[in-house]
């Protein structure tokens, strides 16, 4: 059997570029549209040029060259997309193995059909277009078809490391046979394709698992909101029943007050009526339905606990957050404040202030509660374990950081304050 030619480097470059772009497509851009296009063009030309120029290097140099090419794609991903460096590694690993598979399948078919034609031959190019088109088309369709949680899928550091190690293993195994002195024949190509296919399969399954767990937690958060809404519904049903009976009561009370000549008794009766009415004032309309639900439920809870809660909230800026994130960013600090306030013996001092407003292109969420005892903060800037309320603010901090924001906590002049600052995205990307 004659020695088979290896894949033309430009074929590899094309496969790499397409795979990277396929996975990078749904990711948020780091810069505007124009710089991204320029960056993409520059990277594609540089990668193709580099791979073409290093096509004839000796075997010892082949691995460093491949590593450099991957590094180039990695840098492109990290620079052009708004992702962390380990996330970029994750995407890069998936794209690289997919590119390996595409190039391998294509070239195997090429060698099987017409081993004596070169890479620039018309028929060969047609085959390239068909194979790459079908393969990438299928993967693109599969990616798009799968439901994705709102916002960006977060890849944990562990998952990213696993993907990178897996990709390196697959690459090593699939190319192991080329390092031998033996002649390159079809079976080697066959094994390479098979190993690459397994690699793509493993990484896809891992990705699916990540996606599913993200969907699952999103669902749980939705469930929590629904639960709150249901409770709100139950409350309003009770409220309506109460109102109907109150109408009648009020009529009698008004008649009694009219008849009452004693000023003090008249005042007392009026105060009773007032407190009865206050219960129905708890409805909030902020411009964000999730925030409305949370604030309404909490302000009713506060009324029951004798906490004086005041809130000034502009919810229209929270549209870029998912339901779960709003629940975390608003619900947890509120629960925390309520829990701390219920321990306050003097009902006049049970004060809770909420302010949500936009300023300087950012949205600020501020929760302040009266807390006479100083709160010790740990080295990470968070209250030391169960020093204030019982809730963990770590999740709030993580959610804020996710959006490039920050959360700070402080205790000053008997007030405990949680401040969350989130930059408002210029536009929802792509």
């Amino acid at each position: 059997m004659t020695a088979l030619p290896n894949i033309p480097r430009l074929y590899t470059a094309l496969a790499e570029c397409m795979a990277i772009l396929l996975y990078a497509w749904p990711l948020p851009r780091r810069f505007g549209k124009r710089p991204t296009i320029v960056l993409t063009g520059g990277w594609a030309v540089a990668l193709s040029g580099f791979l073409h120029a290093t096509g004839g290097v000796p075997l010892a140099w082949w691995i460093p060259c491949m590593a450099a090419a991957i590094g180039l794609s990695y840098l492109y991903l990290w620079a052009s997309r708004d992702i962390r460096w380990l996330e970029a590694g994750y995407v890069c690993a998936r794209a690289f193995i997919l590119a390996e598979l595409a190039a391998s399948v294509e070239w195997q078919l090429h060698c099987a059909l017409f081993p004596h034609r070169g890479g620039g031959d018309g028929l060969a190019l047609l085959l390239l277009a068909v194979v790459d088109g079908v393969l990438y088309g299928t993967v693109f369709w599969l990616e798009r078809r799968r439901p994705s949680p709102t916002g960006k899928l977060t890849v944990s550091n562990k998952a990213a490391l696993v993907a990178v190690v897996m990709a390196a293993m697959v690459f090593a195994v699939s190319n192991l046979l080329f390092l031998g002195d033996g002649e390159v024949n079809m079976s080697i190509y066959y094994i390479r394709t098979l190993v690459d296919f397994c690699g793509v399969l493993i990484l896809t399954i891992q990705h699916d698992q990540l996606r599913e767990s993200a969907l699952h937690s999103e669902l749980e958060a939705m469930d929590e909101v629904l639960h709150r809404q249901y409770e709100q519904y139950k409350r309003s049903k009770e409220g309506i029943k109460l109102i109907n009976s109150r109408y009648h009561e009020l009529k009698i009370q008004i008649a009694n007050i009219r008849a009452e000549r004693d000023q003090a008794k008249q005042d007392a009766a009026l105060a009773r009526m007032e407190s009865g009415i206050r219960q129905y004032e708890a409805e909030n309309k902020t411009g964000n339905p999730v925030l409305d639900t949370l604030l309404t439920a909490k302000s009713m809870e506060c009324q029951e606990q004798g906490i004086n809660m005041t809130s000034v909230a502009d919810g229209q800026w929270l549209g870029f957050l998912s339901t779960r994130e709003i629940c975390t960013l608003v619900g947890v600090p509120l629960d925390n404040a309520v829990e701390s306030l219920t321990a306050e013996p003097d009902p006049e001092k049970r004060l809770l202030r909420v302010a949500i407003y936009a300023q300087s292109g950012c949205v600020m969420l501020r929760f302040e509660n009266y807390c006479a005892a100083p709160v010790a903060l740990g080295p990470d800037g968070l209250p030391v374990r169960s020093a204030h309320g019982g809730y963990d603010l770590r999740g709030v901090q993580a959610a804020a950081r996710q959006h490039g924001g920050t959360m700070t906590v402080k205790w000053e002049n008997s007030w405990f304050t949680v401040r969350i600052l989130l930059p408002i995205p210029e536009k929802e990307s792509m």
Partner: protein, 236 residues
Amino acid sequence: MIRIAMVEDEAAVREQLMGYVQRYTRQYGTEFSVTEFADGVDILEDYRPVYDIVFLDVEMKHLDGMETARRIRALDADVVLIFITNMAQYAIKGYAVGALDYVLKPVPYFAFSQQLQKAVEKVSRHARHYLAVPVEGGLRRLDTVQIYYLESEGHRVHFYTEEGEFTAPGALKTFEEKLAACPFARCNSGYLVNLAQVRGVQQGVVEVGPYELQVSRPKRKSFLAALADHIGGEGV
């Protein structure tokens, strides 16, 4: 002396709040001068921005509190507005006029005193600061709110302000220390930014007035924390 305007149509409530202000003075020693108004129309008649804090009843006969607040805000950007209401949902939209605080009627003294204390702190923060900058031929007195940012270049510092640019000798660190009482923070080692002039923060870039400055990765966390402190403490 802090100047308060009390706009409330019920004489009894007005009297009660006046008593609270006096009690606050006895408790903390802060001196106030209080002017009373019975309606939004009264305070707006020939309004001049002389007040530090305005307490506003939301429901009033002729001109309601929200509309009064809107008109006051148009004439006076700095005044601290605090609503007095017995209907919480009327005050929830207070952010539109930069009024992030309100007290619920009937007003208990403790809640009122806490709100007043916060307002007093805010007023003292609003006080103007001036920076004396050595320039050719003398000192230049600069209102710090007009500064966009400072840039260090060797042994000189470039000032970018609403009234143009100029250069002064000195180190950025020296000016940073002089500006410690004002909301300034470094977005990278070479730029000292006036946080009050920040218009937006995007990936790695902060918009300051007409300028766009890079935020370096090592400074990002502390810069955002300073910005959160400024916006969270300000709230106007």
